[in-house]
């Protein structure tokens, strides 16, 4: 058996294991170690299995991931998300479709301080859906807004998935973090546009709500400052040179911890939940990273990435056609796999290919994250939708998937827009350097 053949069989075996509901991480470990063993001898494969788990997990750059997740969890479990929503609501909730826009807006702000899409979706869903229900908003519209808002999480800094992209490709993490800001804002505007078209067609979906007084509005702002404060401290500190991007995670986590304690919102039970949620989510991500490390070493030694790159370079396709094909594959993978798994699985192959075609690695990171994000809100594995359906138990999940379709369209439009005008992504990073 040639190494290339073993490599292809490995990929097939991996998909089969996925189909039988193997944890993604363990499936990667099994295929990675077995494949490496078949090519290189099982004694050496066992050495890899012994050394990679500890080496991967004791990587300083990766420590930022649990800390950014912790920051989001502290804010979520101490009720700051709720306050944020109510404040935005007081300002724009009374406008036509105002609460839907409030939901998108709250998601963006929450995304801006949370490293995780799950934390963003779960928090905003828990807060906004009961509120919208109170004002007789249609559940379809409510669910669509929460789902769409959650997809902004991985774009607006800090973003765990963009940090991972930087670690895996050696692209500058600081630049990656700010590259997502403008695309995030543009996507938010596109989502708001979709909401207006929706309400134009179905006016009953968003009945008018009562207006708040100006004094109420200004008073509510006092609960929003923690978000602005944390965003400025954790992202601003990087650019003022007080700390490095890797250190920003702990600054953010520590800041949100202090805020929650000083405002007496963090009791022991909320502290325990925030810590437990953070650690379990981080452990899940890191085990996938260990598997991905082993799997990518197997792929390397099977020579598939090298062969594939030279194969694609032989094709008489234009770079933009190859890009389109790659993004299509990402879209399809996104339907079935979780974002981090896709990233670690494909980047060893795709990143060298993309840069060899002359595309900017930084730009591609943002585009790829957007495409993969679509899978968060599509069947069969739309994690965001599962989280939302956990909050609105009385609506069948199929109906939520259907309701979210216009938002999927919006994301696709966004991807096309940012491909035609890469400046939207590149302007901030270019400005920084």
């Amino acid at each position: 058996m040639s190494p290339e053949f073993i490599g292809i069989m490995g990929v097939v075996a991996l998909l089969l294991l996925f189909l039988f509901k193997f944890p993604v991480s363990i499936a990667l470990i099994i295929v990675g170690v077995t494949g490496f063993g078949l090519i290189r001898g099982f004694d050496t494969a066992m050495v890899q299995l012994g050394s990679m788990p500890f080496n991967t997990v004791s990587d300083y750059s990766l420590s930022v991931i649990p800390l950014f997740i912790l920051m989001g969890m502290f804010l979520s479990h101490s009720g700051f998300g709720q306050d944020l929503y109510q404040s935005v609501d007081k300002w724009i909730g009374h406008l036509k479709g105002g609460m839907a826009v409030t939901t998108i807006g709250t998601s963006s702000v929450f995304a801006a301080i949370s490293g995780s899409v799950n934390a963003t979706t779960a928090t905003v869903a828990r807060i906004s859906i009961p509120e919208m229900r109170r004002y007789n908003y249609s559940m379809s519209l409510s669910a669509a807004c929460v789902a769409a808002g959650g997809t902004l999480g991985p774009l607006i800094p800090p973003s765990v998935i963009l940090i991972l992209y930087g670690i895996l490709t050696m692209e500058d993490i600081g630049s990656l973090l700010i590259a997502g800001i403008i695309p995030g804002i543009v996507m938010m505007l596109i989502f708001i546009l979709v909401i207006y078209l929706w309400i134009a067609k179905y006016p009953d979906a968003a009945p008018p709500t009562s207006k708040s007084s100006w004094s109420d509005r200004f008073r509510s702002l006092k609960n929003v400052w923690p978000f602005i404060f944390l965003f400025i401290v954790s992202i601003g500190g990087i650019y003022l040179g007080i700390f490095t991007p890797t250190e920003a995670g702990s600054v953010g986590a520590f800041g949100s911890f202090l805020l929650a304690v000083l405002t007496r919102r963090l009791n022991w039970s909320a502290l325990g939940k925030a810590l437990s949620d953070t650690l379990r989510l981080s452990a899940m991500i890191f085990l996938i990273l260990i598997g991905a490390e082993l799997f990518s070493q197997f792929l390397s030694i099977s020579r598939i990435p090298t062969e594939l790159t030279s194969f694609v370079q032989q094709l008489d396709w234009s770079p933009i056609m190859i890009l389109a094909a790659i993004l299509l594959v990402y879209f399809l993978l996104g339907l079935f796999l979780e974002g981090i798994a896709i990233l670690v699985l494909t980047l060893p192959i795709v990143y060298p290919l993309i840069t060899s075609l002359g595309f900017d690695g930084l730009w591609f990171g943002v585009i790829m994250v957007m495409v993969v994000n679509i899978g968060l809100i599509t069947p069969p594995l739309g994690i965001s939708i599962y989280i939302i359906s956990g909050v609105v138990k009385d609506i069948p999940i199929e109906k939520i998937f259907k309701a979210v379709m216009p938002m999927v369209g919006a994301l696709i439009i966004g991807v096309i827009l940012f491909t035609l005008f890469p400046e939207i992504i590149m302007v901030l990073p270019d400005l920084m350097n």
């Binding site: 290189r40 004694d43 007080i242 390397s300």
Partner: protein, 326 residues
Amino acid sequence: DITEGASGTTNENNELIFSHFFPDNHIQETELVSGFIDETEEATEGRVTFSSYSGGQLADPDGHYEAAATGVADAGFSVHSYTPGQFPLTSVMELPFMSGSGTTGSETLWQLYEEFPEIQDEYDDTVPLWLSTSEPGYIFTRDEPVERPEDLEGMIIRSPSPEVNNWLELMGATPVSMPMADTYQALQQGVVDGTVGPPHTLVDYSLHELVDYVTVGDFYFTTFFGVMNQDSWNSIDEEDQEAMKKIMGEETASTAGEIIDERSDEAMEAAVESGAEIIELNDDQLEKWEEEMQPVIDDWINRMEEEGLPGEEVYKRAEELGDEQG
């Protein structure tokens, strides 16, 4: 068993795997590793061929000795100080003022390896292909120049190794460890005031753009090893082994040194071009530095002797070789 895996069931043309963590476009790959592979192939008339796996595809930067020893790769190339404690006597070359260039440093290190069985013991489960050093490491600072040891007082300096930590602390500076990838930003925004390292690493991470002052002195050396798996070596015919031995060792060590010295000159030119001021120390000033750094050397020797290793002898011999070769 390991032998089966390592002796090249890898692919049809029996290519051996050479693994290292330097990026694909780095001189360590394009000149040193590629050059070694080409020469080996030529000398053995194509019977021994390596395929290079760059960028740490097969092992982490600190896992390359292990990878070669266990047969994950047939050969590995990395930096000694990534696994502190593993190569105690080899670390003599990390001490200040050991040599004036990468070429002489590398030749000295290989000569020490040949002369001291205690150093050979540090590589007893592999076959060393070469040992080499970087060019001398200088002090790079932003804003404030460093001429005298006391100029370092109060500065925050990124440090590459424990030996450098020691003398930075002696001079009242604060050494910090951070990933090389973070250093650009840290230096740019003043998280650190400077860094110690061989000039070629400056260009690797574009640090030359940021540096205002370069204090020239033989303050530190990074050391490298290229080692081969024992069984992979044994699988090679004796005739080809003899052919390879002519390339291995001193020959490749000094080539490695020359490559890095050349790169170092380019790096210094780049630094000057982007506005850095080069601070050359005169003999009086140098003497002051040597005096201040002596405790670090004494400490190193004491630690070796405590562990029952011939630290004194190795240090003396290294100094002697350094003087001989200039």
